[in-house]
């Protein structure tokens, strides 16, 4: 018997609703707590910690994959990568890796995990499921933040001690270019269409806005010892953590001017946008908490107690 039209509509509706329910469920922030070797999982709908997962020693970096249902965590002193199941929010396994893993990034096709080794200046490419190293390449000094162009063709890497950003071509597997930025670039972010790259220069107290087509750079002054950056959901604003004045600088992207500074917790490090709500999440290393800012009102709407020395380096809201 052929299903009648109303049945098809009902089935389609049911599938749509399941999809919606799944996406609502996935509103979680994964916060690495360096001091007690855990990850706090925050439900971004309620802004409550729903689970605390034991990982390796001194976790710092985070990369997430909705497709793989996984959160990848770099344990810098443990010299390992922990993988968390983001449905159950439980540890799948912890995998040893050589060196000093800090920055993590998942490729846009969800197949490759890039791991930046802070000490040996190497980028490892791991199979995101088996966690086996597939290849590696030598890079600039002290690689930290990484982002990828939306088409997956370019991997940008901030090299803290070379004061530049590498552009790695994922087709030719070569570094095609290195762009000079400010002193000690650390956190990176990129806009949705990939036309602008945002680089945080820790020692210069600035942000470099790089036009990825022309490689022209505009420089914006922010607060003391800035670390990480994210655009707002509507891409009108940039939010930057200033670790040494316990604040977040807010930049108007239209005129590249700093328009406000919001006091957050102590020593704010990681910052991430929740794509669902548009809220901005900030991990405060000094006060062991996460601050949530409403990107419309620019007001703090929640302070969430996490673990000791929260860092959350990378895009940490799924």
């Amino acid at each position: 018997m052929k299903p009648s039209v109303p049945n098809i509509v009902l089935i389609t509706l049911a599938i749509l609703m399941t999809g919606l329910a799944t996406s609502c469920w996935s509103g979680n922030a994964y916060i690495t707590n360096q001091g007690d070797n855990t990850v706090s999982v925050i439900d971004t709908n309620t802004n409550k910690v729903i689970n605390t997962v034991k990982v390796g020693l001194a976790p710092v970096g985070v990369a997430l994959s909705a497709t793989n249902h996984r959160a990848y965590i770099s344990n810098v002193d443990g010299q390992s990568i922990s993988v968390i199941d983001t449905i159950k929010n439980e540890l799948i396994n912890t995998y040893p890796i050589k060196g000093t893993p800090v920055g993590l990034l998942l490729s846009t096709d969800n197949k490759t995990l890039y791991v930046a080794d802070w000490t040996d200046d190497v980028i490892y490419q791991l199979d995101a499921i088996t966690m086996e190293i597939q290849s590696q390449f030598q890079n600039g000094k002290a690689p930290a933040g990484m982002v990828m162009s939306p088409d997956g063709k370019k991997l940008y890497i901030a090299n803290r001690d070379s004061n530049d950003v590498s552009i790695f071509d994922t087709d030719t597997k070569q570094i095609s270019q290195r762009i000079s930025v400010g002193k000690h670039p650390f956190g990176l972010s990129i806009n949705k269409n990939g036309s602008e790259l945002y680089v945080v220069n820790v020692i210069s107290n600035t942000v470099s806005v790089v036009n990825t087509g022309t490689l022209e750079i505009q420089t914006i002054r922010v607060g003391e010892h800035p670390y990480c950056i994210t655009p707002s959901k509507d891409e009108r604003l940039l939010f930057v953590t200033n670790t040494q004045d316990d604040s977040v600088s807010i930049i108007n992207l239209a005129n590249k001017q700093s328009i406000a500074k919001v006091k957050v917790g102590e020593v704010p490090e990681g910052i991430s946008l929740d794509d669902l709500t548009g809220n901005i999440y900030i991990a405060n290393w000094g006060s062991n908490q996460v601050t949530v800012i409403d990107s419309q009102s620019l007001k703090i709407i929640a302070q969430i107690k996490t673990g000791d020395k929260s860092r959350a380096f990378g895009k940490f809201v799924l």
């Binding site: 810098v76 040494q244 290393w285």
Partner: protein
């Protein structure tokens, strides 16, 4: 006290402005002082006179230097009773928030990229102050394990803890003295 001086003198190591290790460390200590916050803040903000209250410090020399932008920057050299010096830069002194911020440029503590702040708050009781001293820093050794003795996280944390634990009770004693 002797232990602090020994700890500080033990590790005479150069500090450099290049790469640091991957995990910042923290020491945070707090003390309640039975004295008016304004009085306590006056002692804390006196960047050129740490020897007034810190028992490990023999003398403090204050200097002003121009930075690359031509702005005046304030530095101090602490000469320690146990030998050695610590050269520090004032990063900020905020009377409204009663907060002093400084960093170590070079010196004998076994730390790298050290920055600290001291904050005075009113309370918990009337006429009382709470002083919080917080430092963020890295161990001296910047490479992968094995980490040489005296250059690890524990050595760095112990040295800074020693400085704070010797200093805060002495600050309290001075501020509470009639």
């Amino acid at each position: 006290m002797k232990k602090v001086i020994a700890l500080i003198a033990m590790a005479i190591l150069p500090l450099t402005a290049s790469a640091h290790g991957p995990s910042p460390q923290k020491v945070e200590k707090e003390i309640v002082i039975k004295a008016d916050p304004a009085k306590v803040w006056a002692l804390v903000k006196d960047f050129g006179n740490l020897q007034k209250w810190h028992p490990a410090v023999a003398s403090t020399k204050l200097e002003t230097k121009k930075d690359e932008n031509g702005d005046d920057q304030t530095y101090r050299t602490l000469t320690l009773k146990g030998g050695g010096t610590i050269y520090e830069k004032l990063r900020g002194s905020d009377d409204k928030d009663m907060q002093l911020k400084y960093e170590i440029v070079s010196g004998v503590l076994p730390v790298a990229d050290y920055n600290a702040k001291m904050t005075v708050k009113a309370g918990p009781g009337a006429g009382e102050s709470t002083v919080t001293w917080m430092a963020r820093f890295y161990r001296v050794y910047k490479l992968n394990p094995p980490i040489p003795a005296g250059q690890d996280d524990e050595s760095a944390i112990n040295a800074v803890t020693g400085v704070f634990e010797a200093g805060l009770p002495a600050l309290k004693a001075l501020a509470e003295a009639k």
